[in-house]
C-alpha cells in the first residue's frame, strides 16, 4: 500500500513514532549523501598520495575499495528509496537498514586500513566519525557492544599484520607495525577514544531524543486542543502524553471550581478508579493542591515523609512514591493542577517541571476554549427559548382579542349602533396592524437568530403564488384593480422552506396590491440562467429614486408610501431580503414614481430534472 508522506489527515491520530521515523529516514539519507563524498574522497586521497606525494600505496586495490564504496552506496540509495515508498515494517526496518549500512562501512574501512598501513594508518581516525554517527542516530540498547566492533576490527588488522598473516603496507619509514609497544599504544588510545566518543554521543542523543518526545507530545497536544471540542477527550490525551514523555507511572488533571470549594479529577491516566474515588474533593482539605496553586510548582520527593500528602498509605498502595504538581493557569487565575505521579525509583527533574508547565498551558487553553464554546451554546439555547416563548406570548393575546372583537363586530352579541360599530372597527384596524407588526418582528428576529429550523422541501413556486393570489383576489377586486398570473406549463421547483417561500411571495404581492389604485398587478413566473424567477409588477404609486437605496432597510417606508397608506410596518422587504439570503437568492427593483414598480426575485434551483 502506498502512503503519501506529509501532514496527517484531519482527525487521524498520528502515532508518535512517525516524527521519530521521519528523523531516522532523514539521518539515513544524510549518511548516504556523506558516503558519496567519502567514496570520492578515498579516490581523491589515493590519487594525491600516490601521484603527487609518491607514497607507496597499493593504488589499484585502494581505488577498488573507493569504487566499491560508491557502488554499494548506490545500492543503499536505491534501497532507501524503496523502503520510503513502501514502508514495510516501520522503524525496525529502517533500523536494520541503518545497521547494515554501518556494517558495510566498517568492513570497507577495515580493508582500507589494512591497505594503508594497519596500525600506522592515519585513516584509523575516520572510524571515530562513524562511531559518532552511529551513536547519535541509532538506539542504544546494544550501543556499546556495537561500538566495540571498530576497535576489534582495527586490533584484528594490527595483530594479523604483526603475526605476518596479513601483508603490511609500509607508509612510513621505519615501520612500526611490528613494535608491540607502538601497536598497543595505538590500540589502547584508539579504543579509549571510541568508547569515550560513543558515551558522549549517546548522552547527547538521549537528551535530543527526550526533546523530540517532548516536542512530539506538545505538537500532538496543540493539534488535539485545536481539533476537537470534546474537552474530556482533549484532557485525556494531554494527560496520557505527559505521562509517556516523562516516563512516569501516572498523570492527572484536577480542576477547581470557581468558588474554590470543590476540586475533582477532570482527566487521569494510570490511576485506578479506587484511588480517584478516595482522594478528597474538598479544596480546603487538599494541601497539595493549595500549595501548587500558590507556588506554581510543587515537587513531593517522598510521599511517605511529605506532610502535604493527605494519606500516604493509600498513595503508596497505589504504587506512587513521588509527585510533581504544576498549576494550570487560566486567563483570570489558576483553574487547576496538572500532576505527574512517579513509581518508586522514579525521579522527577527540573526539566520535567518545565515540560509539565508547558503542557499545563495547553490544558488551560483547551479548557478555556471549551468553556467559551459551552457558554455560547448555552446563550444560543437561551435565546432560542426566549424567542419561542416570546413568540407565543405576543401572538396569542393579539389573536384572541381579534377573535373577540370579530365576534362582536359580526353581530353575534347583538346589533351594534353606528357609533359602537365605528369604535369597534377602529380598534380592529389597530389590532390588525399590531398583528402584522408582531408577526413581522418575530419573523425578523427568528430569521436573524438563526433559530428557525429551516425545513427544506421541493416546492413548486406556482402553487405558492396561486395561494397568495387567491388570498388577495378579493382585496384587489374591492379596489378595482386586476391581479393576474403568467406562468409556464413546466413546474418551477425550488428547494426551500415553504413558510419562507409563502412569506416572500405574500409580502411582494401584498405590497403591490396595497400601493396600486388603478390598473393592476401582474405576477410572472419563469426561469432564467440563475434559477427560478418571480416578478411582481404593478401600476401603482412607484418608488422615488432617492428611496430606492433604503428600500430593504428595516422599518423604512418611502415618503409616498406613507402618504398613501397608513398601515405598513416597513419590515416586509427587509424580511424578504433576509429570507432570500438563506437560499442565495437575489432581489432587484425597478420603478418609476407615478407609473409603477417591478420587483424581480431569483432563487437558485436545480435544473431540468423537474417533472
Amino acid at each position: 500500500m502506498n502512503h503519501e508522506p506529509g501532514p496527517p489527515l484531519p482527525g487521524e491520530h498520528v502515532k508518535r513514532r512517525s516524527l521519530v521515523e521521519q528523523e531516522l529516514v532523514n539521518s539515513l539519507d544524510w549518511l548516504i549523501s556523506l558516503r558519496w563524498l567519502a567514496g570520492a574522497g578515498v579516490l581523491g586521497a589515493v590519487g594525491v598520495a600516490t601521484l603527487a606525494l609518491g607514497v607507496p600505496l597499493p593504488a589499484a586495490a585502494l581505488s577498488a575499495v573507493g569504487v566499491g564504496i560508491l557502488a554499494y552506496n548506490s545500492a543503499l540509495w536505491w534501497q532507501l528509496g524503496r523502503l520510503r515508498r513502501e514502508r514495510p515494517g516501520g522503524i525496525p526496518a529502517f533500523e536494520t537498514f541503518a545497521r547494515a549500512q554501518i556494517g558495510l562501512d566498517w568492513a570497507a574501512m577495515t580493508v582500507l586500513i589494512a591497505l594503508s598501513g594497519g596500525a600506522e594508518s592515519p585513516a584509523i581516525i575516520f572510524f571515530l566519525f562513524h562511531i559518532t554517527i552511529a551513536s547519535l542516530l541509532l538506539p542504544h540498547d546494544h550501543g556499546f557492544l556495537y561500538v566495540s566492533i571498530a576497535p576489534a576490527m582495527v586490533a584484528a588488522v594490527a595483530v594479523l599484520e604483526y603475526a605476518g598473516v596479513l601483508p603490511h603496507v609500509a607508509i612510513i619509514q621505519p615501520a612500526r607495525y611490528d613494535d608491540p609497544l607502538f601497536v598497543s599504544a595505538i590500540l589502547v588510545f584508539f579504543t579509549a577514544a571510541c568508547y569515550v566518543m560513543a558515551y558522549c554521543c549517546m548522552s547527547i542523543a538521549k537528551r535530543l531524543r527526550r526533546r523530540e518526545r517532548e516536542l512530539g507530545g506538545l505538537y500532538d497536544g496543540v493539534r488535539d486542543v485545536t481539533s476537537t471540542l470534546e474537552i474530556t477527550d482533549v484532557l485525556d490525551r494531554i494527560v496520557e502524553a505527559a505521562a509517556r514523555v516523562l516516563g512516569c507511572r501516572a498523570a492527572a488533571i484536577r480542576l477547581i471550581d470557581s468558588v474554590r470549594s470543590q476540586v475533582e479529577f477532570a482527566a487521569s491516566w494510570g490511576l485506578s478508579e479506587t484511588y480517584r474515588g478516595e482522594v478528597p474533593d474538598e479544596y480546603a482539605k487538599s494541601t497539595l493542591d493549595q500549595d501548587t496553586l500558590r507556588e506554581g510548582v510543587v515537587h513531593v520527593e517522598d510521599v511517605a515523609s511529605d506532610a502535604r500528602v493527605w494519606h500516604p498509605e493509600l498513595v503508596q498502595d497505589e504504587g506512587i512514591a513521588s509527585m510533581l504538581s504544576v498549576s494550570i493557569a487560566g486567563r483570570t487565575g489558576p483553574i487547576g493542577v496538572l500532576r505527574a505521579y512517579g513509581a518508586p525509583g522514579h525521579r522527577f527533574t527540573g526539566e520535567d517541571a518545565a515540560y509539565l508547565q508547558a503542557v499545563a498551558a495547553h490544558g488551560a487553553a483547551a479548557i478555556e476554549n471549551a468553556k467559551a464554546y459551552k457558554l455560547l451554546a448555552d446563550l444560543d439555547r437561551d435565546k432560542s427559548q426566549f424567542l419561542r416563548i416570546t413568540t407565543h406570548e405576543l401572538r396569542s393575546p393579539v389573536r384572541v382579542t381579534e377573535s373577540l372583537l370579530m365576534t362582536l363586530a359580526d353581530g353575534y352579541a347583538g346589533p351594534l349602533g353606528s357609533d359602537q360599530a365605528e369604535l369597534l372597527h377602529r380598534a380592529q384596524r389597530r389590532l390588525t396592524s399590531l398583528h402584522a407588526l408582531v408577526d413581522d418582528l418575530l419573523d425578523l428576529a427568528a430569521g436573524k437568530a438563526q433559530m428557525a429550523r429551516i425545513e427544506r422541501r421541493q416546492i413548486d413556486l406556482r402553487a405558492a403564488v396561486a395561494d397568495a393570489v387567491e388570498r388577495f383576489q378579493s382585496v384587489a377586486r374591492d379596489k378595482g384593480i386586476s391581479l393576474t398570473v403568467e406562468q409556464p406549463d413546466e413546474a418551477l421547483t425550488v428547494f426551500c422552506d415553504p413558510a419562507d417561500v409563502e412569506r416572500i411571495v405574500v409580502n411582494l404581492i401584498s405590497n403591490a396590491v396595497k400601493y396600486t389604485t388603478k390598473g393592476g398587478v401582474t405576477v410572472t413566473l419563469g426561469r432564467d440562467a440563475d434559477g427560478v424567477r418571480l416578478e411582481v409588477a404593478d401600476t401603482g404609486i412607484g418608488i422615488p429614486a432617492d428611496a430606492l437605496p433604503h428600500l430593504f432597510r428595516e422599518f423604512y417606508r418611502a415618503g409616498n408610501a406613507k402618504a398613501t397608506e397608513e398601515s405598513g410596518t416597513g419590515l416586509g422587504l427587509s424580511i424578504v431580503k433576509l429570507l432570500l439570503e438563506r437560499y442565495s437568492g437575489r432581489i432587484s427593483v425597478t420603478s418609476e414614481e407615478g407609473l409603477g414598480t417591478t420587483f424581480a426575485v431569483t432563487i437558485p434551483s436545480p435544473q431540468a430534472t423537474d417533472t
Binding site: 407565543h392 401572538r395 384572541v400 381579534e402 377573535s403 373577540l404 353575534y412 395561494d467 413558510a499 409563502e502
Partner: protein, 123 residues
Amino acid sequence: MARILVVDDDPDITFAISLYLKKEQHDVQVAASRAEGMKALDAFTPDLMILDVMMEQPDDGIAMAQDLRRAGETLPIIMLTSVGKVTGMHYDRDNDLVPVDAFFEKPVRPEDLLTKITELLKT
C-alpha cells in the same frame, strides 16, 4: 342543531366561539385541556370537534386528533392554531400526522367557521 365540542385552553376563545355557535342553535360543550376533552367526548358524544393545537403541550391538539383517529373516531375535526402556519400544511381526515378535516389560523371569522361546520356536518 348539532352537538359541538370545543377544546381550547384559552377561555376567551371558547367564550367567543360558544357565543356564536349558540346563536346558530348549536349545542356547545367546552373543554379546557386534552384530558377534559377526552372525558367530554365520551360523555357528550359530539357531532363535530373544534380543537386548538397548543394547549398544555405544544402539540396537544395534533396528538389528540391522532389518538382519536386511531381509536376509530370518524367525527369531523376542525383545528385552530394561534402560532402555526396553515399554508403548506398537509392535513386530511386520513393523514397520519394531522388527521383533521379543516384548519384555521386564529383569528377566524365567525362566518367562515360556521360555514365550514355546516359543510362538514352535511357529509
